[in-house]
Subunit: 214 residues, 2 copies
């Protein structure tokens, strides 16, 4: 009997994730069952369970893709030559979140809107599943540390306000980015460029203050 190759396994796994994403985005997390996902992916119900123990595991993976889309641009700013301001940190994430398409962990092209709709539903699940919540909190702690580095870098260069607590202040940046996701997906925000401009207008550019103070 021919054995399924590793590449075929990975491709099938990616198909199941993509199918789940379409189902969750269209019908909602709770209105979707594992058999629904298998059907959407064109595999047997048994096959889907060979890849994932349940749909909680799949939405965690999808939420992870959304998380990477939002926070990877922030991580890339660590150690960058120009010391980034808080507005730079936020702007770096607005760009991909405001886009039409991104890629998931398997390298598949994903509609951004579909990914964000899943992320908002995952927030609701975090409240009830301690396992999911712990993994999300771990992710946030990791990215929070990287963000705090960027803020310290900015403080040393004078582009981030000196009175900001770098470790604690990352929560404000995260809040702004999560709230942006909600505005985009639930409250009809479509003027992404305008939002980015207003973020720049509202957030302190400590460098400007410092120059003016001299």
């Amino acid at each position: 009997m021919p054995r399924i190759t590793e590449a075929r396994r990975e491709a099938r796994r990616a198909e199941i994730v993509a199918a789940a994403r379409r189902c969750f985005s269209r019908d909602g997390f709770h209105q979707t069952s594992m058999p629904d996902i298998a059907k959407e992916a064109g595999v047997s119900a048994g096959a889907s369970y060979r890849y994932f123990a349940g749909k909680e595991e799949i939405i965690l993976e999808i939420a992870g893709d959304a998380f990477r889309m939002i926070f990877e641009p922030v991580e890339r700013l660590v150690g960058s030559a120009e010391a980034p301001s808080v507005a730079d940190l936020v702007s770096a994430s607005i760009d991909p979140v405001g886009g039409e398409e991104t890629v998931d962990a398997a390298g598949q092209v994903v509609p951004v809107d579909e990914l964000l709709r899943c992320a908002v539903q995952a927030w609701g699940e975090l409240l009830r599943h301690e396992g999911l919540r712990q993994r999300a909190v771990d992710g946030f702690e990791h990215v929070g540390q990287r963000m705090a580095e960027v803020l310290r870098q900015g403080q040393a260069a004078g582009t981030v306000p000196a009175d900001l607590d770098p470790d604690r202040g990352t929560r404000v940046v995260m809040a702004l980015l999560h709230g942006f996701v909600l505005q985009r997906v639930a409250f009809g925000l479509d003027d992404i460029e305008g939002f980015a401009q207003d973020v720049r207008a509202i957030l302190t550019d400590a460098g400007v203050l410092r120059t003016a103070d001299r």
Copy 2:
């Protein structure tokens, strides 16, 4: 046969809302049925349907209570003697959201955490129920107009950056507040005072800039 009085009707309605809030917060919106809510409230299943057509209607009412807690302090700033800055707008809401208890539309004392857990679940529902979403969008448009007034007031007084678009910029304030709710309820934010301080450090105080520019 004695007829139920209007006061008794209102009290019973409030009990059903409170019961639903406990159920949604504890078990999740989808894991709670109308009979579950009736049981928690100590009324017959039929009685609960005399007050609400379904649980979507109840979560919309609960989300409205959360909405008022977050945005009423902002509305109260309209026409206030000191021209509020953007940081003042945000701070006004952080205070009640960071508290232990608030009151709902019926005047009942409600644990803030319970209300916010329901609000995050309501966000997920908005994505799929056009009726809920439309009512939420209407609420946001109303509060957005009031917020824009506060921003214009601040611009006239020099406490809000002149290059901010007041109508569009309200979305940034809303995003920050929604993201704060998520940090509080899903990601373990408990240092509310620290968060408020960092918001003040990050957001431009246009008045300071203006003074420095002179």
